[in-house]
Symmetry: C2
Subunit: 419 residues, 2 copies
């Protein structure tokens, strides 16, 4: 793997509010929301004439919305036609791939500025339909007909981690508790409440109705109650990310033009992508993702950084177990040691390695094709020091990592940002 022929910077980023928007908003509406939000964060302004191409990450508008060919459809919304416009797909890492391809396209010398976006409108289908569509990111000949949808696949991965490293349901719960606390500080997040507050609200509701008030000492008791039903053991409802409509947009620029847009570009100094067999039964190890390790290896090598150099990261917490595995695969902690660090509070906003300050997929929401680009929006805000409410970390960030996983780990894109 070689070096980028020229440097690439992020000069703006934005997103739609994540949530349940259908039928009031569909892909085009969400995409425009993200576009306008991103435009508003380009210091010196940006116009369609400044942009060379439109890259759209999307998992399956085909099945969610019976609409393909999203590249030109989105480009046309803002006057980017007849410029190049295409769609990139790698399951939940779709806009991670779009981002990476845009970095390579700019480095190639052919394009100077690219609008990278991701969009997914999932709630056009009922929940069972969404589960069905997501399952097409697993092996539809072997895993899907056996009834293995995504909560089940990640439950298998969690069970393997429990077995090998002694990880517990409480360890999973700590991830959800942290990420909901972060999401409550993000006005763009789908869920706007910490789990502690949800518990208090639930108790107040029971009290008001005159029912028997449960004896919950802390969030763990609440999360072990019937308020948090088991989806696929050991995963409960609050171990699973959300079904979400949303879009995100990032503007990338070559080094020679980045200064036209801002005095403080954020450089992409590392990009890596890895793959794995779709089926879990074709893998050697269920407690680690080789796609993540390979993507991280490439990104670290390109940037010249090591895991210890990363100050803050957004990682792909589609299920709570996925955040734990990511922290280990990215080299932040040794295998089996991430849970201890989480327990010590190291990954909280005020910890030594803040993880998913955006709220993560768990609380911010997970419109699958938009997730990779939305991670970059948080990177932009944290590195600029403009994260809303109380979630801005207290130190100056020079180096941040974003980890975007697809399916049950068959695709991964890792991106390293530096100021």
């Amino acid at each position: 793997m070689g070096k980028l022929a020229r440097k690439v910077a992020m000069v703006g980023a934005g997103m739609s509010k994540f949530g349940v928007h259908f039928p009031h908003k569909r892909n085009p509406d969400l995409w425009i929301d993200a576009w306008l939000d991103a435009v508003s964060r380009v210091d010196n302004g940006i116009e369609p004439k400044d942009i060379d191409a439109c890259y759209v990450g999307n998992y399956s508008s085909d099945l969610f919305n019976h609409q393909g060919h999203l590249g030109p459809q989105m480009a046309d919304l803002v006057g980017l036609v007849p410029k190049p416009a295409g769609r990139f797909e790698g399951a939940c890492a779709s806009s991670g791939i779009a981002l990476r391809q845009a970095v390579l396209a700019i480095a190639s010398g052919v394009h100077d500025v690219i609008a990278v976006s991701g969009v997914e409108c999932m709630t056009e289908l009922p929940t069972t339909g969404v589960t069905d569509v997501l399952a097409t990111a697993s092996d539809s000949l072997f895993e899907y007909p056996a009834g293995a949808t995504f909560p089940g696949l990640y439950a298998t991965l969690a069970s393997a981690h429990f077995h090998k490293y002694g990880t517990t349901v409480e360890d999973l719960m700590r991830v959800g508790i942290k990420n909901h606390a972060n999401g409550a500080e993000n006005p763009y997040a789908q869920m706007q409440s910490s789990i502690a507050d949800m518990m208090k609200n639930k108790i107040a509701k029971i009290e008001k109705s005159g029912g028997e008030v449960p004896d919950w000492k802390d969030e763990f008791d609440y999360l072990k109650s019937s308020s948090n039903p088991i989806i696929a053991y050991p995963l409960r409802l609050f171990d699973c990310s959300l079904i979400t409509d949303g879009a995100a947009c990032v503007f990338l620029a070559a080094e020679n033009v980045a200064k036209n847009f801002t005095d403080t570009p954020i450089w992409i100094t590392g990009t890596g992508q890895g793959s794995a067999a779709l089926s879990l039964h074709d893998r050697d190890d269920l407690t680690s993702f080789i796609a993540s390790k390979e993507a991280a290896r490439q990104a670290y090598e390109m940037s010249g950084l090591k895991p210890k150099d990363i100050q803050i990261a957004e990682v792909h917490d589609c299920f709570t177990i996925a955040e734990i595995v990511a922290l280990e695969d990215l080299g932040f902690y040794e295998k089996g040691k991430a849970v201890e660090a989480i327990k010590n509070g190291e990954t909280k906003r005020d910890g030594s390695l803040p993880i998913n300050t955006s709220g993560g997929l768990k609380s911010k929401g997970h419109p699958v094709g938009a997730t990779g680009a939305a991670f970059c929006v948080e990177a932009f805000k944290q590195m600029r020091g403009i994260a809303e409410r109380n979630r801005q970390v207290k130190f100056d960030i020079e180096r941040m990592l974003v980890h975007n996983l697809g399916g049950s780990g068959a695709t991964c894109v890792v991106t390293i940002f530096e100021k």
Copy 2:
């Protein structure tokens, strides 16, 4: 638009037999057929260890096969895991986009060798289902609910061309007659018969059954008979491309490693991509595709060539009218003048500008996601002088163009190859 930071060559290309393969073969089987065929044409051999990434063009395995996430699925078939693997979508130009992104990725300096492929398995669905899926490449909010599927959309484009330039049904038929004559010389083509032979076979069949032998003087009479029913006026059955299962694969390499694979690399000296509004009703002109004109403009500019420098081309004849419009949009002929050139035989194999010697989508078949890569297979064979049977053109080819259109013209990728 800038220049490629380094040169990129095609060093091998191959494809599966195009045809109706489901249920005997599905995407993975077709993809392996294409892979092995491409490997067999790399002079000095190529192995997975030589390849840095796997790019897959596919329109909608989601809807055709209820399977997404094709990038890693295909990469895993031949041991390319854990290298980067992704899917690229632009309707019928999906593998054209994959090709272009691979060119940019190699030029960026990050990758040296990429396997670019396209695959589509369409016959898992009945014909009505295929028509429905293809219609999702049009605007599914406005065009699709109005009943406008692709034969209807291209019939509209044909009618506009008839109205503005006096084009006739015979002009359309000449495209089909030529392309079927070419496809009969391509062992990989779905249809293996010229229209003249089909007519003779039909007459023989009628004679054998004791029926009244029709008074057909030539192919035009046959094509105006009930043997060639109207699909959407003015388009008849033989104006429409085929429903096909198939795959194609191309190996691209950076200039510094191309010589490891062959002494005679074929250089990609121009790549262009354009877009347009999805809906016909949002376009200013129905007799020309702005996406094609923009893609061609970029590719010519990058290569420094002009239309008159191109010696042979493969163009996107999803319907016969599309070949006529392409010849004009690519600058080979002035608007409204292509039909005269076709009538004069200029676009035949022995003409001054051979077009679709492979048989085109019309006769070779059109597995939509594979089509862009399959065009390159014909470019490889013609430029190497190894096209099968009697379809090799008689002059030495230095410069060839490939034109890949998506949907009703909302995406276009143009690639220029030089020896």
